[in-house]
């Protein structure tokens, strides 16, 4: 039986242990593009869409965290309580593909694929998200920064399934911005998530390096300047520092030089938005 649709996490991890080369699929919006174009020929597939806890999310205000199961759709994150708790994630979710993609696309899929252009990943980075991994016999939680290790490479072991993420709430502004060739249905050329917590800025960059990049030197600089001292020229310098921390390449989607420019503009813009709130 090459296609499995387990209805519990226990069954899913056992199936993966017994079929270590199986493809894990939630919505399938990434995998099926590769299958349709004959780049991949899956022999065994484990669909994760029926695992109940993967579809759950909850906001725990007491602990100050949000837990999102790995199959929760982007459509769910765009509106309502989740969007209020995590506005940057809602903004990122709204830029994913089209409504048809957002109806099935999920954080589990974005993390599994781990493309530097993954729209949700800068948000998970800036918000210090924790990724939960479950195997038949073990369970562990990995900070996002240790999870993504390269372009389309992550530290998930072959027998592990991404079960969900825990995202700490911030007590300051958070936002996301992305540049692409059009507004809808576009893969990002550069993206930035900026979040403020306890008066400190965190900034993460997408599509401008082999992994999502936390611009930590820029963070230190702006935090030493102090948010209360942000003027347009300070924001400009912040953007230039962020730009210097990016490590983009030329590819079919953009040039490295344009990406460097764009990521700096986005960082400046987000910082100004953040302090104006």
């Amino acid at each position: 039986m090459p296609v499995f649709i387990p209805s519990s996490l226990t069954d899913a991890t056992r199936l993966l242990s017994n079929n270590p080369t199986a493809h894990l699929v939630t919505g399938g919006t990434d995998l099926m593009v590769e299958v349709n174009f004959n780049h991949r020929h899956p022999e065994t597939v484990i669909s994760l869409r029926k695992i109940p806890e993967f579809q759950h999310w909850n906001i725990d205000n007491k602990s100050g965290v949000v837990h999102i199961g790995s199959s929760v759709s982007y459509a769910t994150m765009e509106h309502g309580e989740l969007a209020q708790a995590l506005p940057a994630l809602a903004e990122a979710a709204r830029t994913v593909g089209s409504p048809q993609i957002r109806a099935t696309g999920s954080l589990g899929g974005n993390l599994g694929t781990c493309s530097p252009a993954g729209d949700s990943l800068p948000v998970l980075s800036a918000l210090n998200a924790i990724v939960h991994l479950q195997s038949e016999t073990t369970s562990r939680s990995v900070p996002f920064a240790e999870f993504m290790v390269g372009p389309k490479r992550n530290s998930r072991l072959p027998n592990e399934i991404i079960s969900g993420v825990t995202i700490p709430l911030t007590n300051g502004w958070q936002g996301y911005a992305k540049v692409g060739v059009r507004n809808a249905m576009v893969i990002s050329v550069a993206s930035v998530c900026l979040a403020i917590h306890d008066g400190n800025v965190r900034v993460a960059l997408g599509s401008v390096g082999p992994t999502i990049i936390r611009a930590s030197e820029s963070e230190e600089w702006i935090n030493s300047v102090g948010l209360e001292n942000v003027t347009p020229s300070v924001a400009q310098e912040f953007g230039e520092r962020v730009r210097a921390e990016s490590r983009p390449i030329d590819d079919h989607r953009s040039t490295a030089e344009y990406r460097r420019h764009a990521v700096g503009v986005l960082a400046t813009r987000l910082l100004l938005r953040g302090v104006q709130k």
């Binding site: 039986m1 597939v45 409504p99």
Partner: protein, 162 residues
């Protein structure tokens, strides 16, 4: 060596058998090539154009990006199931009346997207309509007549419900 699969899909309320299928086949392929339901169109096969839009458990999705064998146990609805007696739905009729169809290739997907929008939002504003249809690409009409068709359905539904 590709293993073949036998499975059952529920499409427009009917159980349909799929025999000897490769597991990598998309729902779009299975609908069109195996089950005789060619209403959903295949164009980009990468989720960009929306011509293949169907509903899976009431969510509007691109059938080209659904692995058919993983859709076992879901309720699938295609454009053929909108009106089983073959008559036009109000959205389809509005597309005809407003001239929202030129080559027609995108039309089934757009009709599915419009029905889905109006089922969930009875009075969408212009921005909401544009966003809801942003996953459906039409290269003929420039969208003006498609938006006119949506507007006409909204106003007709409003006047008949009040």
């Amino acid at each position: 060596m590709r293993e073949l699969e036998h499975y059952t899909l529920t499409i427009n309320g009917e159980e349909r058998q799929v025999a000897d299928a490769w597991i990598g086949e998309s729902l779009l392929y299975v609908l069109r090539e195996r089950l005789g339901l060619p209403g959903s169109k295949g164009a980009c096969e990468q989720g960009e154009c929306g011509s293949c839009t169907v509903y899976v458990d009431n969510a509007a999705v691109c059938s080209c990006l659904v692995m058919a064998a993983t859709a076992v146990g879901t309720q699938i609805a295609t454009v053929e199931g909108l009106n089983k007696d073959g008559s036009l739905t109000d959205v389809q009729q509005a597309f005809v009346t407003e001239g929202a169809v030129q080559c027609g290739f995108c039309t089934p997907g757009l009709v599915m997207a419009v029905h889905h929008l109006l089922d969930h939002n009875h009075s969408p504003n212009e921005q909401e309509i544009k966003e809801a249809l942003s996953g459906n690409i039409c290269r003929c009409t420039g969208y003006g007549r498609i938006f006119a068709a949506v507007d006409s359905v909204i106003s007709v539904r409003k006047s008949t419900s009040s």
